[in-house]
């Protein structure tokens, strides 16, 4: 369960890094929101990925 949760958080972090930029490109999101979401994505990825890797090991 913990592993699944960590995977979800880590991949959500990656998704929040990439997907908002596509929305900026299509004109449906302002750049400031994109930058904020990328920052949150970074926190999610680095918050979850190390523990995800540890539990995989």
């Amino acid at each position: 369960m913990k592993k699944i949760l960590l995977n979800i958080v880590a991949f959500a972090g990656l998704a929040m890094t990439l997907i908002p930029s596509l929305l900026v490109f299509s004109g449906s999101m302002p750049t400031q929101t994109n930058k904020m979401l990328m920052g949150i994505g970074m926190l999610l990825w680095f918050g979850a990925a190390p523990f995800r890797n540890k539990s995989a090991n």
Binding site: T17, P20, S21, G41, M42
Partner: protein, 469 residues
């Protein structure tokens, strides 16, 4: 106490430095794919992509030059380096010791360490451009060689000291962090570039090519920069890792591969890091140039911060740091091989201080393309020597691994080949006017010819002397 414990932990790691890697420790191709993709999406990518823009590479030249150059690099790994690595299964250093002798290997290590120091120095400088954002640090310009402000020197020193201290504590944690960061970094490159496309007038995918030709890779170099053609791009992409593939440094990596075909996994690094990331960072720089009306300021940190906010600035810091850190560590190991009784952390500390001092000079970043080309060129003759020693000398009735078999400290055929090849390249550069990016190709053939002739001469004169005595 803590340092000693960490050092002893490092020393206890079994790396098969003087023995072939046993079958139980060999790895499948997947291990290499991830490693190459991660290692080649690094701090250097934030500099190289923009420098192509600054040098006026045109869109077509860049897209197709990178495609062919990267393909040639992958083929060099797959057909030159990996087959020898999987047959010999020993490190580059041990192979050089067998062929060239211990004394020449020491010189090779020294040169390698020096190159590593400069490479790490440029990455510390790249990180410093992002660390300096909140302090309003004046950024260096493309034409700058010397430090332009006290705050630049102070921030570079702080970043360099932190990087050095972490490097002295060991390699493993940083390597783990680098692996962890690499998928995120690749996405930051991609996302930042996609997000700024509308600022270049690209609203749909169909607009890309015309904007690429007129606004990004315009074909016009910035003031004071030389013009890059298709051939510059192709040869740079092929030879920027020349020390690793044609120069055979990655023998140490592929000795763990189950099959030589793992050499093709280098495509992960070439087509993610050296293609997507270079194009992406070039796009970011084009937006900066458009905004600043072709300012000569060159700072990856603010450029990434503008496009991706805090995540962009952190990406520059992490990319620079995760490249600089293992590079300082490797430089330390290369020096330690020369002074075997010295403590790893002490050597790493000294190397780190030298690197930090070098990082204060923006020339390392501004001339990164030339430096990377020089790095590959200087170490390339050793790769040609290994290639000929492995494939050709036995067929000519000459002995491979000559230094080991003859029990000599220095193989003069290898020494002569290294020195004369570089002298020939220097001659071609000065008197024929061939730029450094292209010298690797004729240089390799010169090295092959020289080593064959000199080996014949050295080995036959030695045999003659032995039979006379």
């Amino acid at each position: 106490m803590l340092l000693d414990k960490l050092t002893s932990n490092l020393e206890s790691v079994q790396e098969f430095e003087r023995e072939p890697v046993p079958p139980a420790r060999q790895k499948g191709w997947r291990s290499f794919l991830g490693m190459y993709a991660g290692e080649h999406t690094a701090g250097t990518e934030f500099v190289i992509g923009p420098l192509f823009v600054a040098h006026g590479a045109s869109a077509g030249d860049l897209i197709f030059g990178l495609l062919i150059g990267n393909l040639l690099a992958v083929l060099s790994w797959a057909f030159l380096c990996a087959p020898i690595a999987t047959k010999e299964r020993i490190t580059l250093y041990y192979k050089l010791e067998k062929i060239c002798g211990k004394r020449l290997t020491v010189v090779y290590n020294l040169v390698n360490a020096l190159m590593f120091c400069f490479l790490a120095g440029s990455m510390i400088a790249v990180s410093a451009t992002a660390v300096g954002i909140p302090f309003d640090m004046p950024m260096a310009e493309l034409s700058d060689w010397l430090p332009n402000s006290v705050s630049w020197v102070v921030i570079v020193m702080v970043v360099g000291m932190v990087t050095t201290i972490v490097a002295t504590l060991g390699y493993e944690q940083v390597s783990r962090f680098a692996n962890l960061a690499s998928p995120w970094m690749i996405l930051v490159f991609l996302a930042a570039a996609i997000a700024v496309l509308p600022e270049l007038g690209i609203q749909h995918a169909g607009d890309f090519w015309s904007a690429a030709e007129s606004k990004i890779w315009t074909g016009v170099p910035l003031e004071g920069q030389s013009k890059f053609t298709f051939w510059h791009v192709l040869f740079f992409a092929w030879f920027c890792n020349m020390a690793m593939h044609i120069g055979m440094a990655d023998l140490s990596i592929f000795r763990y591969a189950k099959s030589w075909k793992s050499g093709f996994t280098s495509a992960g690094g070439m087509f993610v890091g050296h293609y997507i990331a270079w194009l992406a960072s070039g796009i970011l720089y084009a937006v900066f140039l458009q905004k600043s009306q072709n300012s000569l300021e060159f700072a990856p940190g603010p450029i990434a911060y503008y496009a991706a906010g805090i995540a962009g600035a952190c990406c520059v810091i992490i990319a620079g740091w995760t490249t600089a850190n293992p590079t300082i560590y490797r430089a330390g190991l290369a020096v330690q091989a020369i002074i075997p009784n010295s403590k790893t952390w002490k050597v790493t500390l000294i190397v780190g201080l030298i690197t930090t001092a070098a990082a204060c000079f923006p020339a390392l970043v501004m001339r990164l393309l030339d430096f990377v080309a020089l790095y590959g060129l200087v170490l390339m003759p050793m790769g040609a020597i290994i290639f000929i020693d492995f494939y050709l000398l036995p067929r000519l009735g000459l002995r491979s691994d000559y230094a080991e078999k003859a029990g000599i400290g220095i193989n003069w055929a290898a020494t002569g080949t290294w020195v004369l090849t570089l002298a020939t390249c220097l001659f071609i550069n000065f008197y024929v006017g061939v730029e450094i990016f292209f010298l690797g190709l004729p240089g390799w053939f010169v090295a092959v010819l020289l080593y064959t002739v000199l080996s014949y001469w050295v080995q036959s004169s030695k045999t003659e002397k032995t039979s006379l005595s």
